[in-house]
């Protein structure tokens, strides 16, 4: 199966988002995958790691939206 770099980044990102505790293992797997499939391992790892802090932001934003607040408070 041939994957281009962007598709590989999206796949590994989705896997890390689903299992954040396995992020290190998945990144190691991504590096191996890149080497075996002729992709640039550095670009793949950078692409996967690029916006993980934004994932934290999305989680916190969702928690803020879901929380209940005192009536009348702004």
């Amino acid at each position: 199966m041939d994957l281009d770099l962007n598709t590989a980044i999206a796949c590994f990102k989705a896997a890390i988002e689903a299992a954040p505790l396995a992020a290190s293992v998945l990144k190691a797997a991504a590096e191996l995958f890149a080497r075996r499939n002729g992709l640039d391992p550095v670009k793949l790892i950078v692409g996967i790691s690029a916006d993980t802090h934004e994932q934290i932001d999305r989680i916190v934003d969702a928690e803020i939206e879901a929380a209940s607040y005192p009536t009348g408070a702004k």
Binding site: V42, S49, I56, V60, E63, A67
Partner: protein, 149 residues
Amino acid sequence: MWKLIRCSVVCVLLAVCLPACGSAVSAEQVIRDASVAANLDASIVEALQGSAYVVYRFEQERARGVALELGEGRDATRARVLAVRAQWEPVWSAFDAARAAHAALVALLQDAGASRAAIDAARSASSARMLELRTLVGLARARAEGTVL
């Protein structure tokens, strides 16, 4: 007399050959050192990233906790969290710069035609970005622990 001539010839040969030999060894050494530095830099980014995410999440949680204690609403809570995120922007920029510097060093190491000077410069640049990153993450951690305001 012949001994003196032979000795002179040997000296001339040594003088001609040794610098070239030394230069080859030195070039290999530069590449080896740069490869070690590149691997170390990759480990540093990985380790700092994990640490930074924990502190980043913690600071946002604490901001939410303060808002909750003060009985603030959704907008005020969001404003507190956004203030935390703004403080972290330089850290994420430093991560991007460090990753780019590391990628540039790795690319040069993979390029057989790269000059020693270029590799040395890329290695120095990568080390400088790593130092900057470590400092910023260290400051953020100290701020979160309350040792730096």
